[in-house]
Amino acid sequence: MKMKLLGTGLCVAMSCALAADTQGATEGKQRTLRVLVLKDSPLSYRDWKGNFVGFNVDFGRLLCETIKAPCEFHEIESAKVVSSVAKGEFDFTMVSLIVTPERAKQVLFTEPYRTSKTFWISQRSIGQSRQSRVAVVNGSLQHQWAERNKASHGWTLVPVGFLPDLEKSLRDGQADAVISPSSTALDIMNSKGLGENLAARSIESDEFNNPVAIAVNPADKELCDRLNAALKKIKTNGKLDLINSRYYSVRLF
């Protein structure tokens, strides 16, 4: 009888240990998060080997490392960012997305981590820009703003697919002015051959001065919370500053 009880006890213990191992293995094997970045952006691009690089890519990798989740990066054009995340095709974005009430209805946003600026870059000021051809990234917040203001200024909009196309439109003479986010504006001003009189000036509009945050799959509130905790941590432990200094002399956040 004693042997029987001992055997039963051993079986139960082994079953428990096995169940615990299986559970541990399941927990250890997390699903890979799909992270969205902008295609050909100054903050996210591919190097000559085809690997994703840039401030937003490193920032995304640091977040994944902090929340201890494997990540894979996907690139997309600006116009499709919000809708793709809203549909749940991607888990979160590293796109420097400006938080607007309309976007907040479609996706979850983390706590903001920096403030955005938008620049008017042209040889003429906005006040003297009547009849100008103005290039904007198709579907971007800048595009929406230009659409609302083009009539009053007499602008002709030149929508482009990606951020680098803004500089190209100026260089090719397709546009007289561009409306660009800050990182691209910095690149444009550093480019050569765009003319001596090219000037950049920030557009002081409440739409553009909004904070920038990470858009998260609206069905995954838990991921949003984990990303918030990770953001707080990396802003405190100095790792984000290291990435910032690797790319820019000023703080991006």
Binding site: T115, S182, S202, R251, F253
Partner: protein, 479 residues
Amino acid sequence: MANSTSSTQDITRSGCFEGRLRWFRLNAAGKWQGLWIAYLSAAICVLVFTVLSLSILGLQQRMFLLTNETQEELVPQFIEQIRAVRNLGVLIQHGSVATRAAGRQVRQKSAVLATFAAANAASLDDDDTRQLVSQASELIQEIVAGERDANEWRQMEQALSLRADLLAVSTGQRVMKRASDIRDDSLIVRNVTIALAALFAFSIGLMLLLGRFLTRRIKLKSQLFNEASHDFRQRLHGMQLLINTARRLPAKQVSGIMLSLTAVMGELQRYLDNFLEIARMDAVAVRPQIGRVSLQRVFQRLELQFEEIAKYNNIDIKFIHTRAIVFSDERILLRILENVVSNAIKFARSKVLVATRCRAGVTEVFVIDNGPGMPDDSDDKLRGEFIQGDGAPKPGATGGGFGLGLSIVTRSAKLLNASVRISSRAGHGSMIRLIFDGPRQHHSALVPRKPSVHRAGLRPGWRSQDPTEPMGTVEPSNA
């Protein structure tokens, strides 16, 4: 002198333990008052201990919250402010280049970089700084565009520098304040912990004292009952023997036995009365009714009470006339002297003297007998309830031992704030002194009647009143 044995005992100062517990016995009337004070002290200790423990818990919780808040909120805010200060510096630097550089392209690039820095030169909830850097960014761009004078930048540069300094200082001040808060709390916790440790030690000491006090009381009481039961049994046994003897004797001789039996019965009755008196004094906090008491009146009552008994025992008893007045309880005083005189008559061979003496504010009543006295090895026993010298009559014989009487004497004397001293010399007699030395004792009539001692037939050696002086010359004249 060398061969003489004598003992002097201060019953009310019986040992250092009694001394340590003296504060428990604030007055003789409230014998349980000390115990209640101990209980109250223990309860207060427990209460204070609980309050202090809860205070420590509360403070530790507060420190825990402060530390958490520092980690979760304050440190991120510090870092954000440090970044803001750095970006303000970058804004000032690029603004200076943008407004003063010679090349237009350099100025344009610097203006973009300045705007870039201005975008994140203030935390999201710092509206004042955000407004200032926004103005600075606009000014830079207007100067670069040639819309405003470059000299206007100087004033803005000063304002930005001042803001950067303010942010840096305020960050330092917040760190200092938080550090001070945590330090202050730590100090309070340390002090409360020290107080707690001291209270704990005090409580343990109190408990030990209380334990020893109670143990002693229980031990004494246990001893009282053991010895009392033994004495009761002896007396009853004596009575049984007398009854058995009476049964066997012819009727003519029984009357003598009956007389003895009556005496033993009387003795047993007194013994029982004494025992019940002790029990009553233990159980009830007797409160003396203090008033002016004429010792002469007390002596007269005693004389009336003991005259016949003394005659019956062939004892010459003398009460020396006195005019002394003491502040005391007459009933209790009478009870004390009844016991002492009764005891003296029982043990005296032929004489008993009762007298008073007033000197230096101290009134003494002393009772001297020329009985067998007590050996000096009975010092410890003197403090107990049952004291009988070796020469004391045995139970069953007429006039049983002092026994419980001395216990009643010492306990009652405590109630009256008086002390009892026994001086004795084996084979020569005993002297018991009742000393009233309180500040309110009145001795309007000093009665230093030295001859009274001689008149009583006792030698002057009894007059040695110093408690530390051995009673070497005590010797009843007819011994």
